[in-house]
């Protein structure tokens, strides 16, 4: 487990093909670790018949809606949470404040 709640992170802008669990609209976006969900077998390997091991830590990552969408309708305090695996994250500068 690399990140802790409150840490700023960025979702990698990777174009990894195939079965991935990181939605395209979050790639390259900055947010923060809202919670550590725990370790799970890597679904990107499981889906191709591999063991999914070693397990990867899954995080609940928070984003400001106003930073995800150019014309977001709603207050600055609207947020989006997505569950993102550790290997899709790098240290970043986004955050709630």
């Amino acid at each position: 487990m690399t990140y802790r709640p409150g840490d700023r992170v960025r979702v990698l802008p990777s174009k990894k093909p195939g079965h991935v669990r990181t939605p395209g609209y979050l790639k390259g976006k900055s947010g923060w670790i809202e919670a550590v969900i725990g370790p799970f077998p890597n679904p990107e390997d499981l889906s191709y018949g591999f063991s999914g091991l070693p397990e990867r830590t899954l995080y609940k990552v928070g984003f400001k809606q106003a930073e995800l969408w150019e014309f977001y309708e709603g207050p600055d305090e609207d947020y989006l949470y997505a569950d993102v695996y550790e290997h899709w994250l790098e240290p970043g500068t986004g955050g709630k404040a």
């Binding site: 669990r21 990181t22 939605p23 609209y25 969900i37 725990g38 799970f40 679904p43 899954l58 609940k60 809606q65 995800l68 969408w69 977001y72 309708e73 709603g74 207050p75 305090e77 609207d78 947020y79 989006l80 949470y81 997505a82 569950d83 993102v84 695996y85």
Partner: protein
């Protein structure tokens, strides 16, 4: 006789026809057995949003249960006699006077099936999956619910190993109602957060 059969085949949706063909092939090759298929069907049929309504109503009348539901959703479901066993986690998020939660799965149609059964068709539609993250307030308006500007809208994109359900707020004017009556107010859509529970004086549906 054969004409009738042919008619059925042509009116069946292409998806249903494809699934039937795959099922027949899997049975033929011995990958699945008929009892296994029936077991899966029974599993899904035994689950419905009524389970969610029971969990919510109990949480509304019992603070200890509410705490359990929010901290360990599977334990809470087991406590009410449900069978929540599933590889994915089951997490319940609470609506409050300042926070409204909305659940979506943009990548596919992840849904707490072990508790609520099959998701509504709209939940699986491309329209809902793309719009719920981009314009959640507009989507909720179309469901007949508009969260005030001073309420934070939290969208949960259920992308991985967690399945989410919303614990909606108890409607006002329900102080006199018992647990079973309260459960009647909890709609399937309110468990996703697309809407809120019915008001206690909601119009009685059809024919009455």
């Amino acid at each position: 006789m054969s004409d009738h059969h042919q008619h059925e085949e042509t009116t069946r949706s292409p998806y249903a026809a494809r699934i039937r063909a795959i099922e027949a092939l899997l049975l033929d090759k011995g990958v699945l057995t008929e009892p296994e298929v029936q077991d899966k069907i029974s599993y899904m049929e035994a689950r419905s949003p009524a389970n969610g309504a029971k969990l919510v109503a109990r949480a509304w009348v019992n603070d200890d249960f509410k705490e359990l539901l929010l901290s360990d959703g599977k334990a809470a479901a087991s406590a009410l006699g449900m069978e929540p066993a599933h590889p994915a986690e089951f997490v319940v998020v609470e609506n409050t006077p300042t926070i409204h939660n909305l659940i979506v799965c943009t990548l596919c149609s992840c849904y707490p099936r072990a508790i609520l059964g099959r998701p509504p068709d709209w939940y699986k539609s491309f329209e809902y999956r793309s719009r719920a993250v981009r314009e959640p307030r507009a989507v909720m308006r179309e469901f007949g619910f508009e969260p005030p500007e001073d309420v934070e809208v939290l969208v949960h994109d259920s992308t991985a190993d967690v399945r989410y359900m919303v614990l909606p707020m108890r409607p006002s004017g329900t102080e006199e109602l018992g647990e079973q009556e309260l459960a009647q107010l909890v709609t399937r859509d309110s468990l996703v957060g697309a809407s809120v529970p019915l008001a206690p004086d909601h119009p009685i549906p059809t024919g009455a």
